[in-house]
């Protein structure tokens, strides 16, 4: 190896003092400079400890291989009570664990709505009184994910996404559409009526259609949708259309009343985000497969409960590392403004965790408009994410970048080393319960979560040495 170094003038990569790189260039050498900056003091020992033990690279390779090894397919529609074994007063929610009294407005609104929907309370006031008695548990702890408030109550229909090449599976609610909807904290009668219709008509009709065909390969649909301008998080118009094409004939063949089938078709047609929940469940199957690899710094969850932002990494298993949920930088609907916005909310950042959403923005330049950005900004955002990710996705590719795979598999260590924060495309909920969606925008994951995670990984290395 050294003979090769000594055979010709080297190409040099530099990090540190610019004067030394200048001196190389003055000699006509080929130099590639890192724009290095010191990591925060509180992790510099932890980074050295982890580097000293030298098992992260291999652990990350294993974890990423498991994540990419799944092939998520949509197999059917179940009911939360049976699929997840939920008790009558157990409600799941987005993000890291939270108690009723810490819930933000939209989370509270969604829980109130779910209590009304389940018939546990007859009025919003009754529901609020009952709130402290509801057992809350994160979706992520039950192989499930939900956008925004992510509330799953026992009677709700759930889409079942299975790994066609393994035995993993994940569950998610069916998407209600935009505007006044439960996941944004709305609980008006029309919201509850819609949920009941989804349970009564949408779920059985879809399930029957799905049973008439082979499971739908969601990874393939998502890959195609990126070619058509989706990002898999804030823009799912192409993927939803593709899903409808897959389902079309099977829906028509059904013996449900034709009016029901037409309503189902119309509902999905009117809701560009129908596919979002399915993209999220696809991602969840992958990250769960990648969890628990000793030494791995692969991020396996980024999720927000409206109060806190939490992440998990593979090497620390089920532990959450949390920080206050950040404000979203965005555009607002109608006359809403930033003053109406709740902090960041939802499990949907699971899409960024697998190389979609903000990470795939170059495939979906229109999205970047949410922060007054440009198509070039979208491309730069995606390019920046390659610095903190472990692989390029073999199935999710960006046409504009010569079909380069999206940056996939966030490495918590690289996040703290570089200061490049994961970028997330997201919707914005009104901060008051019952308001619903007020806008959409872009948010960066808080660095504090990653600092804690890296310190925890280093503590494990030190413990094992002791």
């Amino acid at each position: 190896m050294i003979d090769r170094l000594l055979a010709a003038e080297p190409v040099v990569a530099t990090a540190g003092v610019d004067l030394l790189a200048d001196a190389l260039e003055a000699q006509g050498a080929s130099v590639s400079r890192a724009a290095w900056r010191p990591p925060p003091d509180e992790v510099s020992d932890a980074l050295a400890t982890i580097a000293l033990h030298r098992r992260t690279d291999k652990a990350n390779r294993i974890a990423v291989e498991r994540m990419m090894g799944v092939r998520p397919v949509l197999t059917g529609i179940g009911v939360a009570r049976d699929a997840l074994g939920l008790g009558e007063r157990t409600f799941l929610h987005a993000g890291p664990p939270i108690a009723w009294e810490d819930c933000s407005g939209p989370m509270r609104g969604a829980l109130v709505g779910a209590m009304l929907y389940e018939g546990l309370a007859a009025s919003p006031e009754e529901a609020v009184a009952l709130g402290p008695e509801i057992e809350l548990s994160p979706c992520h702890h039950h192989r499930a994910v939900g956008p925004m408030a992510g509330v799953i109550s026992p009677s709700m229909p759930l889409a079942v996404v299975a790994d066609a090449d393994g035995d993993g599976a994940a569950y998610t609610t069916l998407n209600e559409g935009l505007g006044k909807v439960l996941r944004y904290g709305a609980f008006a009668p029309e919201v509850i009526d819609r949920l009941r219709w989804m349970e009564r008509v949408l779920a059985p009709t879809l399930d029957a259609a799905l049973r008439r065909i082979d499971p739908i390969d969601l990874r393939s649909l998502i890959g195609q949708a990126l070619q058509m301008g989706d990002d898999g998080h804030n823009r799912n118009r192409a993927a939803t259309s593709l899903l409808l094409r897959e389902l079309g004939a099977a829906l028509l063949e059904g013996d449900d009343p034709s009016r029901d089938r037409a309503e189902v078709f119309r509902f999905m047609h009117a809701n560009d985000h129908f596919m979002l929940n399915l993209v999220m469940a696809s991602a969840k199957v992958g990250v769960d497969a990648a969890s628990g690899v000793a030494g791995s710094s692969l991020v396996t969850a980024m999720a927000r409960n409206g109060t806190e932002f939490g992440i998990r990494v593979s090497g620390t298993g089920d532990a959450w590392f949390t920080a206050p949920a950040p404000e979203v930088d965005g555009l607002y609907l109608g006359s809403f403004t930033a003053a109406d916005a709740n902090p960041d909310l939802g499990d949907s950042a699971i899409t960024e965790t697998v190389g979609l959403g903000g990470f795939a923005m170059a495939a979906s330049p229109a999205i970047v408009g949410f922060v007054g950005g440009t198509a070039a900004d979208a491309v730069r955002r995606t390019l920046a994410m390659y610095e903190i990710t472990l692989v390029e996705h073999p199935h999710y590719r960006i046409p504009f970048l010569e079909s380069r795979g999206t940056p996939t598999g966030i490495d918590a260590i690289r996040v703290v080393r570089t200061g490049v924060m994961p970028v997330i495309n997201t919707g914005i909920a009104g901060k008051e319960p019952g308001v619903g969606m007020v806008g959409a925008g872009i948010v960066e994951a808080p660095v504090a979560c990653f600092l804690q995670a890296v310190r925890a990984l280093a503590a494990i290395e030190s413990d094992e040495e002791a």
Partner: protein, 464 residues
Amino acid sequence: MISHVEVRRRTYHDSVRLMQASAAVQRVDGVETALVAMATDLNLTLLQDLGFEVAETTPDDMLVAVRAADEAVIAPALAALDAALETPAGDGDMAAPEPRTIGTAAARAGADLALISVPGPHAFVEAAEALASGLHVMVFSDNVPVHQEIALKQQGLEAGLLVMGPDCGTAVVSGLGLGFANAVRPGPVSLVGASGTGIQQLCCLLDAAGVGVRHALGTGSRDLSHAVGGRATLQALVALDEDPATEVIVVVSKPPSPEVAEEVSAAAAACTTPTVLCLIGESTLEDGAAAALRALGREPTPPAVWPTRGETPRQGTLRGLFSGGTLRDEARMIVAGTLGEAAAADMIDFGDDEYTRGRPHPMIDQRLRLEHLGETAADDSIGVALLDVVLGHGAHPDPASEMAPVVADAKEVGLGIVVSLCGSSGDPQGRDAQAAALNEAGAAVFLSNAAAARHAVEVVGGTR
């Protein structure tokens, strides 16, 4: 207050674009509320909630609704809308962001060598990444814990990668100078050693004799310590022995740990390429250069001197003000060897950690050392100041321009000045011009550090 609602039939704009356009209209003076959106059911509801009258539409139509203080605001509001929908949004610059770590920087350029000079506490992480990426590494940084140095060198050995440093100030690879390095012509001699300025001095003395250098592999100031065990020096020695274009090898080091010295001597003896050992304390750098020249079949001649003429300096002791550690060590041994330990007690290395924390290296920034030279002139118990001036890549672009005036002032008050000038004929600062400027100011200038030290001893000892 007036409301303006218009429907633009069969006009499609993307929803994000329309939200931006709404925001642009909203910003117009006098506009209270604005909504620009496709006429979907959701948006029609929004329009109604905002208190606008909804016209007959299809989802393919675009709605424009503005509520404003008076009619005069509507025209500028609509103009703002059209501008927002028509103006291209950006400059189209899609350059990839700068790489943030050594691994990313290396991957972008297909690099094979990493030069790391980040602060010591952070150097290990970058160096470990460079090794994991298959790069040879030079760690210029100092203040790196020794257990990290051992870990890096062990990792390098396992992967067949060379780790130069930490605290490696100098290397030359195929003529390319890294860190502080003198410009050398290509040639038959390769150097290896745990000594930055030792390597530089050898390069310059060989250059003065018309002999070029192929490689000079610094291994870091601690490589030949007991703890590190000469890992990098031994590895580099084998590599240089196998390098077909290297005709003579010189191993140079500050005084090594005895058992490591034994191991290195054995390895040098086992080389098929003629190998010269130059261990400071046992021999001088000048001796090392001479031995290398003899191994090439050349007869060495004394290195250049720019002597002073005229008056004898004032009586007093010797003070050394150095920027190079090995140059200081060598000078101190010569002084101690002839005048005794006490005479060699006042020789400072300004490149040492205690002087460089939070401050650039004295080869780059001479201010602190020149301040000390001024104080030395003012202290009439001191007769002679011995200084080094190190030229080459990475060093101050014109050290004599700052040093000569201080030298001249010191001469005025009778201080004797002896300069060890470590420079090659090709150095960007111009070696001979630097020598001439210092000499004109009153310094005796020597290309050989050992010769400079011997001269200082003679002056202080009163033998001339």
